[in-house]
Amino acid sequence: MEPPKERVKFIQTDLVLPYHYYAGDYKALYLRALKDKKILGSKCSATGKVFVPPLMSSPDAHAPCEEIVELPDKGIVTTFCVVNVPVYGRDIELPYVVASVALDGADVSIYGLVQECKAEDVEMGTRVQAVWKPDGERQGDHTDIKYFKPTGEPKAPLESFIHRL
């Protein structure tokens, strides 16, 4: 005798894992400041380079970043991607632009959506400014900056940002 020839082909498992994440002090400070329309970075004690969101230490100099600085909400699109693929849990009309934005005075870029323009109007070097959620609606989290929009200023020259994508 033997077990049935026709096997059970699959088992279905649904993993449910509870997590409770901490932002850490640097990130908490950064996120809470967004509520006041402030973008904070941290400055490396060895090189003076500015990281946004603020890092506790600089990856290049391996030195502490002991000073918090405020950055303007304007910058340059250093590079970008036009997304035509729907992503689970994200309801933005396709296509949309996700850009690396180098804020003025920052030495690394942040991610942001670029809207209020056609995707084909976004270029490497386009100057953009943050569009914030209105007063009273900002919660102190990433969604406080809704997206970036072009400022209409002249495009930044490639050599000014090609090494801070």
Partner: protein, 377 residues
């Protein structure tokens, strides 16, 4: 054993082991630790040839968790690097192998795990075979309890025996400023704590805790310049067993026995009694008893303390920061042999045997022999 390269532990640092650190992320916990370990080893980051970390994505609750810590390890300009999805003591072993292959002379080993952010019960269930064991909801406490019951039935050890082992470790932990539970508790008190999964009581299990650790290893020629008392690796081996807990003899640890036999042969020692200190990665009293047996130590039950001092750190029963627990055992060996063990120092310690474990019911085991003198002339 043919001649190997003399490699030493020359520095170590750790973050305080706490139930949770709400102020810092894993890389933020690690940054000062890496800096301190380098300082302790009198070395600049640029003089380190290689780095290797040990951590787990599931512990941290994010895929590629290890890549976050590249930001804090001083990896610029780019460095030679690797990562094992294991307790960092296996990263230390990989580095030691790398040194034997003469691929590096100095290295830092980092361990981290934001244990408080997840639920170890849920997470460690995922280590088990998905068809027959994980789907029953088995967690690490329950599998340890199964092992404990089998051992107690076979060896005739009772609840009081477990309490005695746990109390001994808690008393040792009280003298260790770097562990998490630092209060001695009597066996009688521990026996009053409630069962989590019987026969294991709350008092017989480690607390949930987290830390970050960094160990510095160096080969002969460089090690002496980095540490006043380098602690030399005399022998090491690790072995895994099949996983299915119902298909193994849970009451003994064959893989520890084999790893110890090989490590002892490499070290040129007869057995565990050639050491003055033994540090075990036991997360339950029963694991300690099984490991004692596997290494050839007496049970120590009934207050009979002969042979080497076992678990002067207080063992993982006083702190079990996952992914670091093993590396902390190696650190204890280093601290004991290099005069850095403070109040809990075992006097005259010249040789230590260090053990660490991974998986359910001691599935995977590593055994090290450390000494104050170079092993190979």
């Amino acid at each position: 054993m043919s001649k190997l390269r003399n490699v030493a532990i020359v520095g170590f640092a750790q973050a305080p082991i706490v139930a949770d650190d709400p102020h810092r992320t894993a890389p933020e916990m690690l940054y000062p630790v890496v800096k301190q370990a380098l300082k302790n080893a009198n070395v600049e980051r640029k003089d380190i040839d290689y780095q290797c970390a040990g951590s787990s994505d599931y512990i941290d609750g994010r895929a590629f968790s290890f890549s976050q810590v590249m930001e804090v390890m001083g990896a610029w300009p780019p460095v030679q690097d690797s990562h094992v999805e294991m307790d960092a003591i296996w990263a230390a072993h990989l580095v030691w192998v790398k040194m034997q292959a003469e691929e590096c002379d100095t290295a830092i080993i980092a361990g981290f795990g934001k244990v408080s952010e997840g639920s170890p019960m849920h997470v460690l269930n995922l280590q088990l075979d998905p068809f027959y064991h994980a789907s029953l909801g088995l967690d690490h406490v329950s599998t340890s309890a199964l092992q404990a019951s089998a051992y107690m039935a076979k060896a005739g050890v009772d609840d009081a025996g477990l309490a005695e082992v746990a109390a001994r470790n808690r008393a040792a932990g009280a003298k260790n400023p770097d562990t998490q539970l630092r209060q001695a508790v009597s066996a009688a008190e521990l026996q009053k704590t409630p069962f989590v999964t019987s026969p294991l009581r709350e008092g017989y299990l480690p607390p949930i805790g987290e830390t970050a650790t960094c160990l510095v290893l160096a080969a002969e020629g460089k090690a002496e310049k980095m540490c006043d008392k380098p602690v030399w690796i005399h022998g090491v081996d690790h072995r895994i067993e099949l996983q299915t807990i119902g298909a193994r003899d849970l009451t003994s640890s064959a893989s520890t026995k084999l790893a110890a036999k090989n490590a002892f042969a490499m070290a040129g020692v007869k057995g565990v009694n050639d050491a003055q200190v033994v540090e075990l990665g036991s997360t339950t009293p029963v694991e300690e008893l099984i490991l004692r047996d596997a290494l050839g130590l007496s049970s120590g039950l009934g207050g009979k303390a002969d042979g080497p001092v076992v678990n002067p750190s207080g063992s993982p029963l006083c702190a079990n920061p996952l992914m670091n627990t093993g590396l902390l055992r190696l650190a204890e060996g280093f601290r004991q042999l290099s005069g850095r063990a403070g109040e809990r120092a075992v006097s005259g310690a010249k040789r230590a045997v260090v053990h660490a474990s991974a998986g359910h019911c001691l599935q995977q085991n590593i055994v090290w022999v450390l000494g104050t003198e170079r092993r190979w002339a």
